[in-house]
Amino acid sequence: MSALERPAIIAGIGQTEFSKDSGRSELQLAAEAGLAAVEDAGMTPADIDGLVTFTLDSNDELLLMRCLGIPEVRYWSRTPHGGAGAHTTVQHASLAVRGGSAKAVLVYRAFNERSGRRFGQPNARVTPPGWNWYLPFGLDVPAKTYALAFQRYMFRYGLTNEDFGRYTVVARKHAATNPNAWFYRRPITIDDHQASRWIVEPILRLLDCCQESDGGVAIVVTTADRAPHLPNPAATIAAIADGQLVEGNVMFNYYHGDLAEFPEARFVAEQLYATAGVGPGDIDAAMLYENFSPIVFLQLEAMGFCGPGEARDFVADGNIELGGRLPVNTHGGLLGEAYIHGLNNIIEGVRQIRGTAVNQVPGAEHVMVAGGRSGMILTPAP
């Protein structure tokens, strides 16, 4: 099998510190994270010839090339829909290197999402096409748009906000031992969770919401033939897929059968398991994008880690903690570590495969990294 036929690899990962006020430009954050990833891959910027980021990223590709001194880029692209497409960036990079359009692609996301424009605040000046059906009725921040679906899940299976809080307690427990995490050494109890103020009553409290963070994360994707020559172990992208369905409208899907289900995540998982030749029981750890705690429950069910309506007990019984059946978000996730639009979940997946995570799952060989509508399975490179 030629290098182009084999799955691509993640060769390098990099990041800035995660904060609430970086004190520097988003371009500088992208440059710092990008350089760290290139060096982690044992490369120089001249080895990079592709760039991929989110459509929502404010950094200009040519300015980033100038910062890093990348002399030539042969491929670039961007992926839509924010965090739901976080893994799509790596899919683009993977296809670019496997198809020969680039030799090594730098994926990045960098923003001042706390000290600059906050995702958690209504912004009346921005009315993108397709939002007339939501904004005038009061769905003006992500917490509300997502809570409208989560409420159906609570109704269908009889969950309360306290059930969701049990995920947050685990995320904060994992973050408490992760020096990268904003909430390092700051675990919480379920009582702390229940004492936090309502954001969307009776669904989401403050501690159900991901952080708003400043920071940057970058990833180097290249072909499998490079794996034996890298300074750090590579992670093979054993499977990677998107999952979009026709009922959707702009960023969400209020229009499929029952909003207590997450059919896009099921579609992603089915593709990933088929391609990687594994099932949910083979997954050693999962990094699941959580803008809000309930989305973990919907993903656990949609991806087959437990049955419909069983996520409440699956979480409460300790399965998602270190030492449990499926440790989830071992770095603390977007609630505990930081919200870098989900790319920080991907680099934690790589650390688990390398065996270098601070909260390491011993012998992790299949790591799911998913965000509902996109995801991947990482394995060690041969």
Binding site: N132, Y134, P136, G138, D140, Q151, R152, F155, V200, L259
Partner: protein, 132 residues
């Protein structure tokens, strides 16, 4: 009152907001295969017809899901109840529920269409169905 973000009327949804001015909730309907579609799109995904007309919703439906919408950090004098209404015609619409205490809202509760001006913006709204 909470601030209402008014719609930015576009080519493909102008019919809807025109209908609201006449106190009608209009559903886009394919003129060829008669499929109802909401939110609207300019081509029928089923038969690819570009021809469409509208059907006024009868205004009856049930609550698929709901939330209480408040500003995330600032105090609101009057929170809004946001509902996802399952219309009896088939499509779902996001709207607000009036004339009810949040403590009394239930999933699957029957609701009926009404119209109200909220912060100067005329919007299709719902209230508990008479007799429910």
């Amino acid at each position: 009152m909470p601030r209402v973000i008014p719609p930015t009327v576009e080519h493909d949804d102008a019919y809807f907001w025109d209908g609201v001015q006449r106190h009608e909730l209009l559903l886009q309907r394919c003129a060829t295969c008669h499929t109802l579609r909401h939110p609207p799109v300019p081509m029928c995904g089923r038969c690819h017809s570009l021809e469409w007309d509208t059907q006024a919703a009868a205004g009856r439906g049930t609550i698929h899901s709901w939330i209480v919408s408040k500003h995330p950090t600032e105090p609101d004098t009057e929170p809004r109840i946001v509902v996802l209404v399952q219309l009896e015609e088939g499509p779902r619409v996001v709207s607000n529920l009036l004339d009810v205490d949040p403590a009394d809202v239930r999933n699957e509760m029957p609701v009926e269409l009404c119209f109200a001006e909220i912060d100067g913006v005329l919007l299709p709204q719902f209230r508990p169905a008479v007799g429910s």
